[in-house]
């Protein structure tokens, strides 16, 4: 923090920090309270901010539901494959759009966005038929392919602006000093692009983790956690919803936590 801040500004600054923290943490805290606070506490009003009784029964009962472990694993697989594929396919496309002027670049950008233009509900039947015929039906890999398609537009557009922000001169300097274009990319551009790629990965992860419809239409036994639970959570008792909600939030939080040091550099905070 800047030591030259006046006390008033300091107060304002910390109030803002506190409000932002509350904004993010309070709902998560209340969900956690609902998950661990016992069945009766869920209906208590006004809510107490401290747990009256701590009970792991719901969470335990929830985790013991047949298939939750398998669904969790499927979700992790689908999300991981989606992250890998959408960065691996999206980043080169973004690089090409940023560095080379070629005919049809604009049309290409529009086409990439077009995959998001069709409501999935309309495509559900033909997609399912196609996936069954190819043999990708009912597997997390098939779901990951679908999620990659959904995540690619973001990956391409985000990485494009990312590479545009990295001066071409740096790359050219690397060529001058004897790097091949590929070497220059990996030694000079890539390290600078890492924070943005991390953000792209988060996007892809969250898209895959949260997606319900494709995941539930394309699978029967090998459901992802979101498809396995989210669809039925809205019809479950409140305390079950809180337990499920917490379980669905946690991995995203952990993932963001894991890549945070690259994210911070995106926001211009150097502290790695």
């Amino acid at each position: 923090m800047n030591p030259a801040m006046t006390p008033v500004r300091r107060l304002l600054f910390w109030t803002l920090v506190a409000v932002l923290l509350l904004w993010v943490l309070l709902p998560i805290w209340l969900v956690a309270m609902g998950a661990f606070g016992g069945r009766a506490a869920v209906f208590q009003w006004p809510k107490s901010l401290l747990p009256a009784s701590l009970s792991f029964d719901h969470m335990a009962a929830f985790l013991a539901v047949e298939g939750v472990a398998n669904a969790f694993l499927n979700s992790v697989i689908a999300a991981a494959v989606t992250v890998v594929l959408s960065v691996a396919l999206g980043a080169p496309a973004g690089y090409a759009l940023a560095r080379y002027a070629f005919r049809g670049a604009d049309a290409f950008k529009l086409l990439v966005l077009l995959t998001r233009a069709f409501p999935l509900a309309i495509l559900a039947l033909p997609l399912a038929v196609g996936f069954i015929r190819i043999g990708l039906y009912d597997s997390p890999f098939g779901v990951a392919l679908m999620h990659t398609v959904l995540a690619l537009p973001f990956a391409v557009l985000v990485t494009q602006s990312l590479f545009m922000g990295i001066p071409r001169e740096l790359e050219e300097a690397a060529w001058v000093f004897g790097c091949s274009p590929v070497q220059a990319f990996f030694r000079v551009v890539m390290p600078l692009a890492l924070p943005g790629l991390a953000a792209t990965a988060i996007f892809a992860f969250v898209i895959s983790w949260n997606e319900v419809f494709a995941a539930s239409v394309l699978t029967v036994r090998e459901r992802t956690l979101t498809a396995y639970l989210l669809a039925v959570l809205s019809e479950s008792p409140l305390h079950t919803r809180f337990a499920g909600g917490l379980l669905l939030i946690l991995p995203s939080v952990l993932f963001v936590f894991a890549v945070r040091k690259w994210l911070f550099t995106v926001w211009g905070i150097s502290g790695r």
């Binding site: 039947l125 009912d138 890999f141 239409v217 019809e235 499920g244």
Partner: protein, 426 residues
Amino acid sequence: MKRRSLLAAGAGLLAAPGFARAQSGDVVFLSTQLRPVEEATRLRNAILRPAPVQSTFVTEEPQNLTVRMRAEAQAGRRTVSLVGALHGELQPLAADSLDALDDVAAQLADRGIPQNLLELGKLGTGQQRYIPWMQATYIMAAHRRALEFLPAGADINALSYDQLRAWAAAIQQRTNQRRLGFPAGPRGLMARFFQGYLYPSYTGGVVRTFRSAEAEQGWAALKATWAHVAPASTTYNFMQEPLMAGEVWIAFDHVARLMDALRAAPGDYVTFPAPAGPMGRGYMPVIAGLGIARGAPNRAGAAQLIEYLSRPATQLRLAAETGFFPVVRAELPADLPPAVRLAASAIGATQSARDAKVSLLPVGLGDKGGEFNKVYMDSFQRIVLRNENIRTVLDAEAANLRAVMNATAAPCWSPDAASDGACPVA
């Protein structure tokens, strides 16, 4: 070095889905019923685990059921063997996805499944398409706190709609709260209240009498009652929640959607039949059935599972675990859990009420079931919530209803008098 290990990890992830983790050979049992996590768990643990056939119970949203079954039929490769769903949800599958089950039905001839239920299971095709699995209906539940406000002389097991209104009004007057609740939320089953309860009770029909003078009276009565109904009713999907939270003292809902409250505090609640109108006490039984997918990977296993699920002992176990009741001949034992006993007593009182008027689920609407429900929900919103003129709304919505009936050419079903061709809206 580090990069190489990352690559290896990535390759590992890509390869992982290749490992077949699901055991094959078991019966995939896809169901739109018993979806809530706790109910599904009870079915898996208490009923399917001791079954003679290994099965995987998978739940499905009703709107996805048709998509999946149709997709598997078109692609020519089935994953699903056994389908469990409501009568109305199985209807659109009859044409291309449900196998004929006459052999299974013949096997179960001694189980005492009522003939009219078996007839429903033919879905109008002349062959058995599903075997009735379990039934439920809608009941009312009230917290004991509400009982002191019950109008003098009213018998809770033979309420009229006027008495219900007086009861709710008395509560509002004395506690300053509107404590009567209906499941009119986005996922609530309010449409069934109109089709199975309000309309039959006031008009003796559902489709033919849609815009009759009696219907006008029924809507006027509901509108008057709504002044004492909890305003959050338009957000309630499962009445067990506002009951448990104490927001609502008197509630109407599907029995399975009240069970949690009854289970949590059986001593706190009374259950009783829905009220009666001038034409009787309308009520709607809900039937879920079991069908076998055409081209099922394990037809024999699925048939065996149907046989097991329709054994009287299994059906009683299911009733005790979930609050869905047997369709076969089975005497409910005396040692039922208190919540199930509460539900069973209200259902029994409904079925044996002298003025009971049975209303079947809509038959023959196929995938237009949603539009059919919309006619009633739209009428409700316009008349009761938006205060529009009743006659104008009924005339306008009657045109929509007529369009649905003509498009499907569905003949009238009980309680409407039978018709040749599409059921007419008078």
